[in-house]
Amino acid sequence: MIAQQIQKIENGQSLILLSDDPATWPDLQAWARMTGNSVGKESETKFNVMRQNQSYLGGH
């Protein structure tokens, strides 16, 4: 889902992600590493996802 939404923003822009799934933070960090984007944690359930990879095409 992040993969789809992130297509709608430009490089340097961010999304807010709300989630109470315990796998969210570790997996967001892994996703950021694997796709060349960056993520931040504002609280246990609120995260921001910043697009940094111009050529990232998202999921399949």
């Binding site: 993969a3 799934d21 315990p22 796998a23 570790p26 997996d27 960090q29 892994a30 996703w31 590493r33 694997m34 796709t35 999921g59 399949h60």
Partner: protein, 344 residues
């Protein structure tokens, strides 16, 4: 081979060696022979070995037997949940690991507590990563060391300094239900369970299982080196095939300095349970470290601690008899399942 031996072991070793009598003395001889054989294979003196019928208690016996009230329990973030459970109940220090699953020893100072026990996981069972603990040991010269060999088996040698060591017969293709606890320093270890009498562990292990354990260890040693190299090549091939044919894949741990047979892959945009279901439908059974397939609905703490994706995870263990053709077929099945799931 171990299966046939187990059958004849049941025939021969049924009698209780503790009781007197002709049958029992034969059983006693068999038991002593099995213990001597295991001692030789593990390079540990026979009188230091104890055997338990519930291997999952091995962490508890080997660690808690060393712990005194004032001790701090030092352990890594990728230790087994049994160790994490012991740590949670007392003063403890969890050491973080990097993406390769290695403890970052130089970054840690102030580790030399006056009283501590270090739970050293020699190799991680989920990812195969072998611990590099030499630098760490220099930082904790007074810590007592409890080594966990349940995944490493006989692939890795004992450290130069150790107080207890725990093995699982499964790690050398032995039977389920046999744990080996080695107590190097009898003065430092106390039976952690309430007990009457001097026995260190309940002496109720099935003798036939003990015999089968010894036989399996002997069998694994004769081909150990060539088998290891062969399996490592197979794992290299598997990892290359997966990463070159399936996009957005995370692999847990480097194959160098890891056990040769364990491979853990995580795929972006794929749900672990769905992947397992589709593989099962094509006749392939694998394990997963993803949240949706674990009993407690939490993702693998090992993968999360390493920073490896926990989503869409499959764990594949290879054997000396696995063929390249089987690997190609497996990779193809995974690729098809991943593509289908991502297309939805």
């Amino acid at each position: 081979m171990a299966q046939k031996a187990l059958q004849s072991a049941f025939d021969q070793g049924w009698a209780d060696p503790r009781k007197l009598g002709h049958q029992s003395s034969k059983a006693r001889i068999l038991k002593a022979g099995a213990i001597e054989s295991l001692a030789a294979g593990l390079h540990i003196a026979p009188d230091k070995l104890e055997f338990i019928g519930e291997p999952r208690l091995g962490n508890f016996y080997s660690i808690s037997g060393l712990l005194r009230e004032a001790d701090v329990l030092i352990h890594s973030a990728i230790d087994r949940s049994e160790v994490l459970a012991i740590a949670r109940s007392r003063a403890s220090l969890e050491l973080p690991v990097n993406l390769d699953g290695r403890i970052d020893a130089p970054a840690l100072k102030n580790l030399n507590f006056e009283h501590s026990v270090f739970a050293l996981q020699i190799a991680n069972g989920e990812t195969g990563v072998i611990a590099q603990y030499e630098n760490l040991m220099d930082l904790i010269p007074t810590a007592r060391i409890a080594c966990d060999f349940s995944a490493a088996g006989i692939y890795v040698a004992l450290p130069t300094r150790w107080d207890t060591a725990f093995f699982d017969a499964k790690s050398w293709a032995g039977p389920e239900g046999v744990g080996v606890i080695a107590i190097n320093n009898a003065d430092a270890w106390k039976n952690p369970l309430p007990h009457i009498g001097p026995q260190r562990v309940p002496q109720s292990l099935s003798l036939p299982l003990l015999l089968a354990t010894a036989i399996a260890l002997e069998a694994s040693q004769s081909d150990a080196l060539t088998d290891q190299e062969h399996v490592r090549e197979l794992s290299m091939f598997l990892r290359q095939e997966i990463s070159s044919t399936i996009a957005d894949c995370d692999i847990a741990g480097q194959l160098d300095d890891s056990l040769p047979h364990i491979n853990s892959f995580s795929f972006l945009y794929v749900e672990g349970e769905e992947l397992l279901r589709r593989l099962d439908a094509s006749g392939i059974a694998v394990d997963s470290g993803s949240a949706c397939s674990a009993d407690d609905l939490a993702p693998s703490h090992v993968l999360a601690a390493m920073g490896v994706l926990t989503h869409g995870n499959v764990r594949i263990t290879l054997h000396p008899s696995t063929t390249k053709e089987e690997i190609i077929a497996l990779v193809d099945a995974i690729r098809r399942a991943v593509v289908e799931i991502r297309a939805r």
